[in-house]
Symmetry: D2
Subunit: 348 residues, 4 copies
């Protein structure tokens, strides 16, 4: 089989680095170019020291980008939409890992991003990049917009419950605990180790932009509200979402299991994790490091109609590069797990 020629626009950040690592080991891919203005001409391991001795690739400038079969965009938010028409000339297929094309509703974009979209007419050309929700559309898609990490974690935890309409759609409270890599590789006063280490920081108690994605994807006809907060903890990779939802009718564990099994029973990258004993009874992000899994667990509150849903991912994998590769596999007709076999570590 001839290999697919891919390039990465914006390859010096954390997401670009992870994508590059995955693509280097993908059996059906040839990486043509990786761009970085800051490191133009330097070997890629200057930005990604884990790739020493893995490749001879060097960064080039975006202006040197050539045509290829498929282009991954790992540019900062706001950059992809500015140049999207040029990128479309370079490659027939595009997977954008930024937030620029995740929403298909202009009004929703404006409400959560506080500004007008540069090129709203393209919003509907992109398939929202969670394969578990949009696998069929992906098979024939030309453009995919990879989902936000917090959105992915939350949506995958809640989607079956919303779809089956067993919870009140507007009472959901979610808190995500996130690591420092979510903020990217740009350093600032808040990311300085003596300030950031040991923190439990309510960096976004309200108003997180990823909520817009949740509202879009969890809409099954009932008005959806997601009361969302994000807290930074002393961790580099990983997201854990604790979602508190309220059941319309009394349900038992087996009823909830059934719903999750119905939706996720055949999913290659979702595991329902709920054990009676042991240390790891519910999902934990550290076990998912470098894997593409989203683990989902739950617990019914014995004193009320609350159901607690716990979901976890590696934000740079299922929350970014891994999920983008999963989408790539689907749209390319490969086995969905190709290049994503790493199962995670223990202890870690």
């Amino acid at each position: 089989m001839s290999k697919i020629q891919v390039s990465i626009a914006g390859g010096s950040g954390y997401t670009g680095g992870e994508l590059l690592r995955l693509l280097l080991f993908h059996p059906h891919v040839e990486i043509c170019q990786v761009t970085s203005e800051r490191l133009d001409g330097k070997p890629v391991h200057k930005a990604h020291p884990n790739l020493r001795k893995q490749t001879d690739l060097k960064f080039c400038s975006l202006s040197e980008l050539k045509e290829c079969d498929l282009l991954f965009l790992c540019l900062p938010h706001g950059k992809a939409m500015q140049q999207i028409n040029e990128f479309k000339k370079k490659a027939e297929r595009i997977i954008d890992l930024s937030a620029d094309f995740r929403l298909n509703d202009t009004a929703l974009y404006e409400k959560y991003y506080g500004k007008k979209h540069v090129i709203p007419e393209l919003l509907n050309d992109f398939v929202y990049g969670i394969p578990e929700l949009h696998r069929e559309e992906m098979r024939s898609a030309k453009y995919i917009s990879s989902a936000g990490c917090n959105a992915t974690t939350t949506i995958l935890g809640l989607y079956p419950l919303y779809k089956h309409k067993v919870i009140y759609a507007d009472q959901t409270v979610v808190e995500v605990k996130v690591g420092s890599s979510e903020g990217g590789n740009a350093f600032n006063a808040s990311s300085h180790h003596p300030e950031r280490a040991g923190c439990v920081r309510s960096f976004m108690p309200a108003g997180h932009r990823h909520v817009a994605e949740m509202l879009q994807e969890l809409n099954f006809g009932e008005p959806v509200k997601i009361h969302f907060s994000a807290t930074s903890i002393d961790m580099i990779r990983g997201v854990l979402a604790t979602s508190h939802v309220f059941l319309k009718n009394k349900m038992e564990d087996k009823d909830i299991w059934k719903i999750y099994r119905t939706e996720y029973g055949n999913e290659p990258f979702i595991r329902i994790v709920k054990e009676r004993d042991g240390i790891y009874r519910y999902p934990e992000p550290k076990l998912l490091m470098a894997s593409n899994y989203c683990d989902v667990g739950f617990e019914i509150d014995p004193h009320s109609n609350r159901l607690i849903v716990i979901s976890a991912i590696d934000n740079l994998m299922k929350g970014a590069a891994g999920q983008a590769l999963q989408a790539f596999n689907i749209m390319s007709g490969f086995d969905e797990k190709t290049g994503l076999e790493f199962p995670g570590l223990h202890p870690v």
Copy 2:
């Protein structure tokens, strides 16, 4: 002024150690005895290495306990109630740091502890140990039951809002992020460093016993529900509670400020932390290490009627030994801050 003679029953654990440290530097206290069966006869620094060169005190057995002015009980939960009548013979005043006498309602105890109380007739003799709520009762109290750490954090964050009845009393969702010292010094498979470090562990998504204390203390005539979850993170000391409450009517920041100022404006150990910029805009437990402060902050969700309340403490200080000493100062007629002046560190 002659010093108050105090003893500590059960002084080899983390709470006992912190109490011992604080009492050693209290100007009006003389420590008579500290008990430990396991370390009977050994110097106290065998359990508390930070106290090397601070004292010549040795542990003695509980059976050797003599009369004193005031007795602190730092025994494991369930032990204090078994021997409370003997302890009452040893000291006229008792401060119990266990969970045994926190609830004054037998039914509530049975619901959350799953068993009958050994000596329910004494439940009403103990004042619940949060000074900000029960200061006046403490002045003349003989028996005080120090509050749970998660309960203290949550109650101090929510008390003004419940008292002023501006939120729906039964819609509150709370998630606490806790450190490993909450579990005490008994090691187990789950506290083994390779398993516990780096974790984000939903150790108690529902059913936490401290909820009973919240229900008791936040009751202002409306039916209270607290949807509570607890998550362990990679931290030793500290609790951060993120509470999601829902406003009955639209309110602005200044309205919320006013309520908190009304209730806490003169409180020596509560600070309202809410800043427009900087790294530490909301409360963070790491800044409170070794201090007795409870920091409280809040944010109104611009997209809904949700108010997010963020409260933080050092679980071994305001959540245990510090709060017990604060109560001791009040019942002894001392300045409430005596021995509790340490302001916390930065960076840390």
Copy 3:
């Protein structure tokens, strides 16, 4: 190609778990049995939660062990030598990951282990398990004893210098910084998270048993002394060895480079890491997580004849399971990198 039938004796510990993970993804291996007395009959993911959904394997008892092509021993130190004759009946080839057969000198064993070896006549039947030093012997070996993690890190850093006799053989000072997984999965008071987290603990300032392996492997005719200390830090995986050696004659960077290139230029799992700028100028264990690399760097002290050698590994990979698999590949005639391609992560 028909697959090699392997079994693991003692598969519930950290080393056994990592070996199991690697073998599950090895294209030429079929895992027959994995033993654990404690978890007999349970699925392997009970001990290794990262292996959920990866395999249906269950633990069996050691007494049920059947014949196989090759047997990996991941038993606690001291157990392999007790039963080695029985294990030899089960499999023609054995790779032992314990310390039992690492030394080929009985006197050295007794000096460092403080007791007599149970079956000294077998010591010379085992090839010491660092492929970079013993590759040729491994090709025809029946028995391999995998090297200690601290020994591997130190030996790989120093081997070229000792071999080329450019340093005083008896003046070397080494300090390793190690993570908590080195201690295995048995919990104790010292591994309790509140005590172990944040520690910088001189757990073995002198007398570490791995020194015996260094003395054996660095012996090129000059009397060798390794002044070795081990310090635990707040890390789960990883070893960093800082070795201070003293040059017989003045040398420059290029001279040292040449020596390392001569010895390691073709090694698939060794990288010389020494950069002029950037964050990662010398080896760091965190970049090696889940990889089988040993990174080695160095710096010449401008004020003296000291050369500082810095070497790093993942203790569960190149320091245990990864190195054992590398040896397995060599003795089986496979490409040495098979199943060991994972390059490590960044950021992490």
Copy 4:
């Protein structure tokens, strides 16, 4: 007693913040001014959030500095020597916490700092700021230069051995493990949390400037060499020095104990920590957080003439602000422990 009027030049950094915290609680001190150009006019808690509600002090500009009894200089290295003559006009007594006046030998300064000293004629006017070595000179000193944190840790560990001449003066190898607060509050790519957390980074394998202080202070007539390396670990506060020294003659534990007791038996801030069992058998920085102690321990290598010395401090306390305050107490005739009573925490 009338209070001493002090000011702090350069009070917005980590060292300035700790000094400010200590001085606020010192019974014989009144803080007049704290300068910061960046935060001129802002309350001090903007830089030091732990000081919320502790003081109404605001930062002022250095140009507004008034006369006072004693001036603390917490300016960046190189700034104090540029303006020292102006500072001398402001205050009769000065304690400089920078590196500018630590060395009394111009040649040594030039060798380690790579440039000429701006005002070498003043070098001998400053007493080197380790009280355990220079207490008598401090009593009448006008100018004190506070010692470097790594230098303090190493010197206090080794001083008795050098003074008693029981070790080879030129064979000492030292490795310090340091936290991120040593680098101050200026953020950069290397201090970015995803890069700095989890690191074991040989940031200065050779050539550390603090070595010059060691050479100066450990000189007892024999040529001194200190082979020094510094490694960053995932810690905010704390230094642990592991020093490998070589005994001229065979010695036993009691001989070493005797030397340390002779030198340090009456020292209020030094503890010899060496226990047969328990978790904390040797010094550990985490137990010293916020305390002014230097803990020193040792172990004799049974296989050689090596003695391993382990010493630990909190770099911002005994390594900076605490030691400066200790010197202040001595030169002011106060009890040396005033304001420095905090014993450290456990668990932490």
